[in-house]
């Protein structure tokens, strides 16, 4: 109880500020709880499991120290799978960027079908992976697939090709489907940025004597640089850990030629029932992705 009205002391937060910060805590509490439950706990659990030899069905086993990690670094499977992951990521991401930027530039032009094309282009991205993969498997089928049929009709091949069952066709196939599925993300992000480039810059460049190609290099591309960096980093992280598309399309095969790290972890945990080893692989995978993530975080910090 106060009888004399005084100004709140200026050293330290005022009662109002204190009640605001209490409210703030209250509001973020649910997020912190959920975040801990679905991210922090599994992360710590994986690290914990990785130093045990665990039989998946019973989830029991003994402490083995760094054995799983030694196996990972010396066994060869991890490294070949990492290489496969990198080939897949670089391959599909490059195509996503090339087609994504290309189509965004095209859609940015004033063409009559622009709005229709803009919604159509999103179709692969919104289509469920399972449905998309089923359609693609049918297209790729070596006996009755439309792709072989078409290629034979035009005369590019004489015999049906085994698309998903042999190498390097299987890798090319997953890379193509990955590019098809995810390039709309690039289109939309780039298109949004293109629309914010001031028209005056192009006009100034035209007056300065820049032709269409010079305008692309000197006006468009520099403006796209920051958005492209973010897209590439994000998509690299997402493609690196892609699971469902690859699992459904080839299951990692033929043999292990499209087995990326995600598939390796899955196989180790649920086919070979070696949960501890799987956990060690996933920790290794996380460390690789950490590099991308640090780059991404540094990049977004620079932006703001």
């Amino acid at each position: 109880m106060t009888t004399i009205a005084t100004d709140p002391p200026r050293n330290g937060p005022s009662p109002l500020e204190r009640s605001y910060s209490r409210l703030g805590m209250l509001l973020i509490a649910p997020t912190i709880v959920v975040f801990s439950a679905v991210i922090v706990y599994p992360l710590l659990a994986a690290i914990y499991l990785s130093v045990f030899s665990i039989y998946t069905p019973t989830l029991e086993g003994e402490f083995v120290g760094a054995d799983n990690y030694i196996e990972m670094l010396t066994g060869g499977v991890f490294w070949s799978s990492l290489l496969t992951t990198l080939i897949w990521t670089v391959g599909t991401l490059s195509l996503q960027i090339v087609f994504g930027v290309g189509l965004a530039l095209l859609l940015h032009q004033n063409i009559w079908f622009r709005s229709l094309a803009r919604s159509l282009v999103l179709f692969p991205y919104f289509l469920s992976t399972v449905v998309a993969v089923l359609v693609w498997r049918w297209l790729f089928n070596d006996l009755y697939g439309a792709l072989n049929h078409g290629l034979m009709q035009v005369g590019i091949i004489d015999m049906p090709l085994d698309w998903l069952g042999s190498m390097p066709n299987a890798m090319i196939g997953v890379i193509l489907v990955g590019a098809w599925k995810y390039f709309p993300f690039v289109v939309i992000a780039v298109l949004a940025r293109l629309q914010t480039i001031p028209e005056n810059l192009y006009e100034a460049a035209r007056i300065d004597g820049a032709g269409p190609i010079a305008r692309f290099w000197d006006v468009t591309l520099p403006q796209l640089r920051s958005v492209l960096t973010v897209i590439i980093l994000l998509r690299a992280i997402w493609d690196f850990k892609e699971f469902d598309l690859l699992y459904l399309l080839t299951g990692g095969g033929p043999v292990t030629s499209t087995q990326t790290l995600s598939l390796l972890v899955y196989q180790e945990a649920f086919s070979l029932n070696r949960m501890g080893q799987a956990a060690a692989y996933s920790v290794g995978m996380m460390l690789v992705m950490l590099v991308f993530m640090i780059l991404y975080i540094r990049r977004t910090k620079e932006e703001s």
Binding site: A205, D208, G209, A210, D218
Partner: protein, 369 residues
């Protein structure tokens, strides 16, 4: 020679006609301002000259050569945009050098040209900065620098000062006048600010509704406005326009009979309705005597003069400019008398033409701001 001419140029956007038949002859080395309210077609005119828009019909020529089909980069013009349009990822130096690079000049030549432009515009310490790190006034100077280096035949400027604060704007006005004097190049300057047009231009194109209303010197535009629009647009406050009737040697408004010299006006001035135009500085405020009775509504003292708003019995408003410190109170009844030297008569139509014959009357006045 870099004279610029528009011959019967029309421009429409779909159904909308932005410019009706436009005819302009701009002389070599002249500083011409395109002045008019927003949306009157100034930028469209300038952009057609730049090659960023194409005339629907008619010809545009620079230095006697029709440029209708010439790309902007080939017209030998430079343009300064209101937004400056600096390339954000390039340094100041690279921005200024860009047009030269596109012309194929070698680096040493480019550097030399950039150095000279930077010296002229006092940009030397900023050459390695990015546009984002500059103030508005500095960005403005970089945009000017980029225009300067290529030594174009014609400079085009679209409201280049309107993003600057008032103080910087008046400083840059002086700079631009000085620059024009030094370079002696043809400049076409778009503005909606009459102060800029009046102080900088050799001649002003007053535009309204897609038409040229008057193309003349600042003095003529102020003292001999071609029609009611120009009279009502130029001057702050603009010319008063009082509706009344011409009867012989008098202009009758309410019960007041203002004597006029019929021989000073065109023969088309006949007895009947007309509009009398009087600049505020020619409206005298008196306590009594002969004249037009009015009531004081507002007296604004700016320090060096007082702008008085007066109301006539029929509700019409008249502005007067009197000396600072003149004591006038709101509601006070006064008598207005008009100086015969400052009387203009216009046709009574909406944008009626001025009917004065302009036989030399001592009517050259200092332009007011």
């Amino acid at each position: 020679m870099a004279n610029v001419s528009f011959t019967n140029v029309r421009k429409s956007f779909g159904d909308f006609t932005a410019l009706e038949s436009l005819d302009l002859e701009i002389h070599d080395g002249e500083f011409v301002a395109l002045l008019g309210p927003s949306g009157c077609g100034k930028s469209t005119t300038l952009r057609m000259l730049a090659g960023l828009e194409f005339p629907t019909s008619g010809d545009i020529s620079i230095g006697g050569r029709v440029v209708n089909d010439l790309a902007p980069g080939k017209r030998d013009i430079a343009m300064v945009f209101q937004s400056y349009a600096l390339y954000p990822h390039m340094t100041v130096g690279e921005n200024i050098a860009y047009p030269l690079k596109k012309r194929g000049l070698k680096k040493p030549e480019r550097d030399e040209a950039v150095r000279r432009a930077a010296e002229l515009l006092q940009l030397e310490p900023l050459l390695n900065r990015k546009p984002k790190q500059l103030s508005g006034g500095q960005q403005q100077r970089v945009a000017l620098g980029r225009a300067l280096v290529r030594e174009p035949r014609v400079f085009l400027l679209d409201e280049p000062l309107s993003n600057l604060d008032a103080k910087l704007r008046s400083y840059m006005r002086a700079e631009l006048i000085e620059l024009h004097r030094r370079l002696g190049k043809t400049m076409v300057y778009v503005t909606h600010d009459q102060l800029e047009a009046m102080t900088m231009a050799d001649r002003i194109v007053v535009m309204h509704g897609g038409r040229v209303q008057q193309f003349d010197t600042p003095d003529a535009v102020y003292n001999r406005p071609a029609n009611r629009f120009v009279a009502g647009f130029i001057g702050t406050p603009p010319m008063n326009q009082i509706e009344g009737t011409v009867q012989g040697a008098t202009f009758v408004v309410n019960s007041h009979r203002q004597p006029i010299k019929r021989e000073a006006f065109a023969a088309s001035l006949v007895d009947g309705p007309a509009v009398m135009g009087v600049r505020p500085e020619f409206v005298g405020i008196h306590d009594s005597g002969d004249g037009l009775p009015a009531t004081v509504r507002l007296a604004e003292n700016t320090g060096h003069e007082t702008i008085v708003t007066l109301e006539l019995p029929d509700g019409a408003r008249i502005m007067s400019r009197v000396e600072a410190g003149r004591k006038l109170s709101v509601g006070q009844p006064v008598i207005l008398r008009f100086d015969p030297a400052g009387i203009h008569l216009f046709e009574a139509t909406e944008n009626g033409a001025r009917l004065n014959l302009d036989i030399p009357v001592a009517a050259t006045l200092s332009q007011s701001a």
